[in-house]
């Protein structure tokens, strides 16, 4: 019964995105263009350097990594993340939601997931054509289990991604604007997610540092799992790390939300 409300919000948001589908399509298409350029860069580096393996990646593995990362990117890494939450708090839209029998937090989660799935489906169709074009030059998943792990960890990543932007967005309880912290998050995410290049290309010190951050779950970890580059122990560690991050994010979110509600002045109504 409770869930139906959020399914309805999901459906309504889907309808909204359908109305402005060209915008999202162009945004996803931009990401695809960037991915294709990255593929061209790696093809060039492998050909020009005549190296068979770069940082443990063969050319087909690297192309698979970049294209797979691109699909995940169309699911996760879009602009204007957290704008809704920040605007609702700053402009008083939250008050209307508080008066309704829904949780604003679950409502924002439903909207965010809707956007992620919407862009994912747009991306999936476009990438299907690209995968067809690159057929024969791509590496299939090492096992069915690896493919399952890719999907499972991508879903965990989606929750971590929402949680991080949620934390930075509800700072709107205390600040007039929150684009600064969210920009910082996006900037770090672009490199630290491993979407542009695998994190294993970084020197050991950098790799150790980047491994401490949650951003690796946004591309690097799912794609490494797909390629079968993690042992069973490493998979277990990555899973526990992801769960730990989710728990940390959830705890911080709860504390910030409760404190935020105490200072919320419903301004902007």
């Amino acid at each position: 019964m409770q869930l139906r409300k959020y399914v309805s919000i999901f459906k309504l948001t889907w309808q909204q995105y359908l109305a402005y589908r060209l915008n999202l399509f162009l945004e996803v298409f931009g990401g695809i263009f960037q991915t294709l350029i990255t593929v061209a860069v790696w093809t060039l580096l492998f050909r020009f350097g005549s190296a068979q393996v770069i940082a443990g990646f063969s050319q087909p593995e690297m192309i698979t990594y970049v294209l797979g990362g691109g699909v995940i990117s169309s699911f996760l890494l879009l602009h204007r993340q957290g704008d809704d939450i920040s605007d609702d708090i700053n402009k008083g839209g939250l008050s209307a939601w508080l008066a309704k029998p829904v949780s604003p937090n679950l409502m924002w989660l439903a909207k965010d997931m809707c956007r992620k799935y919407f862009t994912f489906f747009i991306g999936l169709f476009a990438y299907a054509v690209i995968f067809w074009f690159f057929a024969g030059r791509l590496v299939p998943p090492v096992s069915v289990f690896a493919a399952f792990l890719l999907l499972f960890f991508t879903l965990l990543a989606a929750l971590i991604h929402f949680g991080l932007f949620y934390i930075f967005s509800i700072m709107a309880f205390w600040f007039d604007q929150t684009w600064g912290p969210r920009t910082l998050l996006r900037v770090i995410m672009e490199l630290a997610s491993g979407i542009l290049l695998p994190l294993s290309l970084f020197p050991a010190g950098w790799l150790q540092f980047l491994n401490l951050l949650p951003f690796k779950f946004f591309a690097y970890v799912p794609m490494q799992l797909y390629l079968g580059n993690f042992s069973a122990t490493e998979i277990a560690i990555e899973f526990l790390t992801a769960v730990a991050w989710l728990l940390i994010i959830f705890s911080v979110s709860v504390v910030l939300w409760r404190r935020g509600m105490k200072v919320y002045s419903a301004s902007g109504i």
Binding site: Y20, L22, N23, L24, F25, L26, E27, F29, G30, G31, F33, Q34, I37, A40, V41, L44, L45, F48, G49, A51, I54, A55, H79, F175, D176, Q177, T178, W179, G180, P181, T183, L184, R186, V187, I188, E190, L191, L196, L197, L201, F202, P203, W206
Partner: protein
């Protein structure tokens, strides 16, 4: 206009300074990105690390110029102005509507990306091992200007489309992603990618060509092409803008 923009930007100091840090970090991370690649390869398709650093410096310089001035104005804020029906007021002001909508909001926030760019220029000049003559530099500035003019023309075209479409913000996002290709030495690519990036969507004009001028690698024929295409796109976009304004039937009541 610039003063008002600065005041708006620093009205929320906390977020402004974090944003400033993010912008500076972004410039640094572009260098880190290439450094990570150079840990595993000796050259980037014939470009050594210092040459890539020069390219990155030019790319970031170009980005700062367009982002501070017209990019967001035309890609995001102008369509919004149209949608809210406020563009009509611009038409009765004693100022060119195109100039007004292109430079209405000077984004001081992005001026703060300058320190790493200045540092990179200092590094390139003093540690890069390059020798630039006054002629090289003049030609470089001329083609950097032509690159900006070309991009401005593209943005005017896209802004003009907003008169017929609703909320075309996705175009701005698309352009930003396409622009990112300019951080690579695009003339090094081969096949279709090379054709696209040099002639169809000539992002080479933004950074690769100016860098090649300083590195004495530019092809004279491509310089002529760049000059012609930049002028054609810019002046063509002005004509398109006039055409779009003529067919604008007002959005407010």
């Amino acid at each position: 206009m610039a003063k008002v923009s600065l005041m708006v930007n620093i009205s929320s100091r906390g977020t402004f300074f974090i944003g400033v840090f993010a912008k500076m970090l972004r410039a640094i991370l572009v260098v880190v990105f290439f450094q990570a690649i150079f840990f595993h390869v000796k050259s980037f398709a014939g470009w050594d690390f210092n040459e890539i650093l020069l390219l990155t410096t030019i790319y970031l310089t170009f980005e700062v110029i367009v982002i501070i001035t017209f990019h967001r104005n035309l890609a995001y804020w102008f369509p919004d102005l149209l949608l809210r029906g406020e563009f009509d007021l611009t038409l009765i002001r004693p100022i060119s509507p195109l100039f007004f909508v292109s430079f209405r909001i000077i984004d001081w926030f992005d001026v703060t990306s300058l320190p790493p760019v200045i540092f990179l220029w200092w590094y390139v000049f003093t540690q890069g091992g390059f020798v630039f003559t006054a002629f090289d530099f003049t030609l470089f500035l001329l083609f950097l200007f032509l690159g900006v003019m070309f991009y401005f023309g593209l943005m005017i075209f896209l802004a003009g489309v907003a008169f017929w479409t609703v909320n075309p913000q996705g175009v701005g996002r698309l352009m930003e992603r396409v622009f990112m290709a300019a951080k690579y030495p695009v003339s090094a690519f081969t096949g279709h990618v090379r054709t696209v990036l040099l002639f169809i969507l000539p992002v080479s004009l933004f950074a690769t060509l100016p860098a090649e001028i300083l590195l004495h690698r530019s092809d004279p024929w491509y310089l002529i092409f760049a000059f012609v295409i930049a002028c054609a796109v810019f002046f063509g976009s002005l004509l398109f803008w006039k055409f779009a304004i003529k067919h604008y039937s007002s959005a407010s009541n």
